[in-house]
């Protein structure tokens, strides 16, 4: 019996070897249809398919591996196609691991979409055969796919940021087009696998808790989410609100986030782990077997599930409106908000403006959905501080105009979403720690607006808008002349303008001293108005004299000051996105005419400040007078 079996095996092996030779011969003769016939015709296919396991790897090495290249594709496309079909066919019979290793290597090194696609189709078959076994092997295969996508060349401007007009044309770029084509091919690759997972890899009724270990479903979930991160995320700046065009980027993103949501079951599940990941670092300790990859919960491992990609997944769910209709509705809004602040902070801290943009959009969306004010107790979480810092850095210093504008809008909405105490705490902390003059002026103005709104409402003023806390804030955001009389007024012009406007406002608005403004006024006069008056006179005299010297050609000794101002101007230009160079670099020496222009603009700024100063002083005087009269008539 055994002998008989051996004889049959031997006969098959010989037959298989002949088949291999035949295929090679047919390919040499360019009889591609003949090769197809071998596996498609009713008479031949059954016998030949039975022989394939014997020669699958030989066929791979001798035929597919050699012919699935760009060179063959361009010179003999039919040979390429035939090899492609053979590869897909042999993938059903070849030894799993051996072929998988080959495919992984070829996928990572594939030089074009065609080569990538051919190998990906084969990998799909292999992974279907692999089923739920050996999840680690499945993970490595998927990593090879991702590695290829990650290493595709992309235009540099994607990482440096781009404006709305560029965003609209982004898909026209050849490299972007190629990347999206790769993503779409991966989409075709994952569809049957995803359906199979959803059908077969389900929780047993006896299993009370979700298995977060290394299994096929979790690996694919991580893969889908990973794909939403870089490089795809770099294209997300083109995501324009209420745009009717459905771009390829959107289509790819939507399909990935839908698959991820389906695999997760509860799309918010990962939010439960966000704090754990963003707030506490895992304590790695080789002696205890704690390595980056040793965690039994795959969703906690950065390499498997990068946090920026998780943030992009939620960006797609919320901003891209991809929440499945059956998503749980019992999560607390505050929990969602705090988790999104964690994620948004992760995005804001990334180098690439498109990711920062997504971070802003994400938090903007969540802020718009919050119905009730967030309690100030939430601010005990350190993440709020980190978020504010990252946000203010963007608002103050990002070279992208759109980012700065959106950032400022988000900052405003973010402050306003808290209860009164929360608003006060954020503004005060920011004013204490920020260095950006314009932003500080803006925040001071915001506090004024909040007090104004509170004054309009009936009932007593909340304690953060009156009395001691009001005075503290006022002294912090209004009465600040950083270097007393010697302050560089032009450098702090923004903040000083805001301060003077705030003074003028309270002088007019709060004649009854509900806020305690008039009690704080003597301090304000001592710390701000008196030194500012003197500083204004000094500066004005200085600049006018300087101008005179320039006009007479005697200005060499003042040139350092001029250079400083020009450098300031250069920073502003860099911020406005107009200059390509480094804002810190010194400008070349300029001529007399240019010097005069700069000086004229400085003098104009000082004059504006001076006129504001005079108006504020006048209003203060008038209101003080009215108050005195009112007090006299009362008495």
């Amino acid at each position: 019996m055994q002998e008989q079996e051996m004889e049959v095996d031997m006969a098959d092996a010989v037959e298989a070897s002949n088949l291999l030779q035949l295929i090679k011969q047919l390919l040499l003769e360019k009889a591609y249809d003949g090769v197809r016939m071998l596996f498609e015709s009713a008479q031949e296919s059954e016998r030949n398919t039975r022989l394939l396991p014997h020669i699958a790897m030989h066929l791979y090495h001798d035929v597919c591996s050699e012919n699935l290249s760009d060179e063959v594709n361009s010179q003999e496309p039919e040979l390429f196609d035939c090899s492609d079909e053979l590869l897909k066919l042999l993938a059903k019979f070849a030894p799993l691991q051996e072929l998988m290793l080959e495919l992984m290597e070829r996928l990572e090194e594939s030089s074009s979409l065609n080569v990538f696609g051919a190998h990906l189709r084969a990998l799909q078959v292999v992974l279907q055969r692999q089923g739920r076994d050996k999840p680690q092997a499945v993970e490595w295969s998927l990593q090879s796919v991702f590695t290829r996508l990650r290493e595709l060349p992309l235009p540099k401007y994607l990482s440096e940021g781009y404006d709305e007009a560029q965003a609209r044309l982004i898909e026209q770029n050849e490299q972007v087009e190629d990347l999206l084509a790769h993503y779409i091919t991966v989409g075709l690759f994952r569809q049957p696998l995803c359906s199979e997972i959803l059908q077969h890899d389900v929780r047993a009724p006896s299993q009370t808790f979700k298995d977060c270990g290394l299994n096929r479903r979790n690996i694919f979930t991580c893969f889908f989410i990973q794909l939403l991160g870089r490089p795809l995320a770099l294209l997300e700046m083109s995501h324009v609100k209420e745009d009717l065009t459905r771009t390829y980027v959107q289509q790819v993103t939507e399909s990935l986030s839908q698959d991820a949501s389906q695999c997760l079951g509860d799309p918010f599940y990962l939010l439960n782990l966000v704090e754990q990941r963003a707030r506490w670092q895992r304590k790695l300790d080789a002696a205890k077997g704690v390595y980056e990859m040793s965690c039994r919960n795959v969703f906690l491992i950065e390499e498997k599930l990068p946090l920026h990609a998780v943030a992009m997944y939620y960006h797609s769910l919320f901003v891209g409106n991809q929440l499945p209709p059956n998503a749980p509705r019992i999560y607390a809004p505050l929990f969602l908000f705090e988790s999104i602040v964690y994620l948004s902070e992760v995005l804001l801290k990334q180098q690439e403006p498109p990711l920062q943009y997504c971070g802003l959009r994400l938090v903007e969306h969540l802020l718009s959905t919050l119905g009730n004010p967030v309690l100030s107790s939430s601010l005990q979480l350190d993440v709020h501080k980190r978020f504010c810092e990252a946000l203010c850095k963007i608002v103050g210093y990002s070279p992208q105009v759109a980012l700065r504008q959106l950032g400022l809008h988000v900052l405003r909405q973010y402050v306003l979403v808290f209860d009164d105490q929360g608003k006060y705490l954020i503004l005060k902390n920011l004013l204490e720690t920020l260095q950006h003059d314009g932003l500080m002026g803006y925040l001071g103005g915001m506090y004024k607006d909040l007090v104004d709104k509170a004054l309009e409402e009936s009932g007593p003023l909340p304690e953060v808008y009156s009395g001691k806390l009001f005075r503290e804030m006022l002294l912090l955001c209004v009465c600040v002349l950083p270097h007393d009389v010697k302050s560089d007024l032009l450098l702090h012009a923004d903040r000083l303008c805001h301060a003077l406007n705030i003074l003028r406002y309270f002088a007019v608005r709060d004649k009854k001293d509900v806020t305690g403004f008039w009690q704080a006024l003597p301090d304000i006069v001592r710390r701000l108005l008196d030194p500012l008056g003197k500083a204004l006179n000094f500066s004005m005299a200085h600049y006018k004299a300087y101008k005179e010297r320039v006009e007479k050609g005697q200005s060499a000794s003042d040139d350092e000051l001029m250079q400083r101002q020009l450098n300031m101007l250069a920073v502003n230009i860099t911020n406005s996105g107009m200059a390509g160079g480094d804002g810190d670099s010194r400008l070349p020496d300029i001529g007399r005419q240019e010097k005069l222009e700069v000086l004229a603009s400085s003098i104009t700024s000082l004059e504006t400040l001076q006129s504001l100063y005079l108006i504020a002083s006048e209003k203060l005087e008038q209101s003080a007078c009215l108050r005195r009269k009112a007090a006299q008539s009362d008495s």
Partner: protein
Amino acid sequence: MPEENKIDLSGDGGVLKEILQEGKGTETPHSGCTVSLHYTGRLVDGTEFDSSVGRNEPFEFPLGKGNVIKAFDMGVATMKLGERCFLTCAPNYAYGAAGSPPAIPPDATLIFELEMLGWKGEDLSPNQDGSIDRTILEPSDKKRTPSDGAFVKAHISGTFGGNVFEDRDVEFDYGEGKAIGIVEGLEIALEKMNIGETSRIKIQPKYAFGAEGNEEFKIPPNSAVEYTVKLLDCGKGLEEWKLSDEERLAEAKAYKEKGTNYFKKENWALAIKMYTKCKNLLPNTADTNEEVKKVKVATHSNIALCHQKSNDHFEAKQECNAVLALDESNVKALYRRGQCNLTINELEDALEDFQKVIQLEPGNKAAANQVIICKQKLKESKNKEKKLYANMFTKLAANDKETEPPRETDVLSKCGEWSEEDAKREAELTLERDNIIMI
């Protein structure tokens, strides 16, 4: 539903529970536990707005952490295993005046049907392998937790086999608990506790007293222990990012001092930890700032010594390399590296190091002694090698005299080739082995 069957959970009628099916036992889940259940939420008019049953998967969430609407946290905390109930939630315990458009209108009362499937403690272990398990006994609404370097004040009570083996108030800087006998598992757990919280922490041996156990506490080797901890207070950790270069240097020096204190107490692990913190805190100005460079050199050198003391000679060598990268004629580092090389049997490197020490300090007797030892060892090792080769050649010569083996197959044809079984086994091993880098 008759009103009398409803239990008022909130005390103001805001959350009412009606049991449909009694659960098993008496236990209910504690705060912090991960709870698994099925739920269906309806509006008062019967409109279903959400259900885990529809998703075909139980719903999981950490209890009592505010992740879900208030009523849900409140109701689930009272449920026993297998219990089924209705929960009627007034708007202020659900979505309030704002609602959650479009499914939940403003000021909506919600009715949930719940079925408790089970719960488990919170796994705080870095590997999520259940080695540190927390149950919150008394939650806190504060959100501050200890961070690295922060001052921690807590009350701890450790039990083993039902007996209390320690019960005390502790105060320490987070990260240095080991110095006052805080087991590692407890310190890891404390990082995730809010001020005011009391928790029960079950700790497996590797994060408690390990394979040695603890004689004083009468804890045998490889024993799991249990602690009840109340975090009384904690400060804010060091905010490194806010420090100026001068502040960083000052802070680094403070950690160096701490490291030296632990070194004096022969607590090498903590000394290394503190020195490493010092090293990380130092500003990146070692090239231009002589003082920073000096501290950096001293820190690496001290870490090297600590590693030597704990017999980690390879790590010690790395630290010496770091010192020598900053100061190539540092005699101490050269001497220490020489010692490490000697211990790990890199004799020629060791000799080179000691000779360089003598070159720099001709009168260094210790180095001169080490040179003699090195030369002696090198000689011994060469002799050994000679003998070994001599033996090998003798054996080979003897073999040659025997008749040549029959040339059945070409040996080279099999070279590097696996049998099918070998290949399969190897591939499986490769694919399933963790932490393998595939090339």
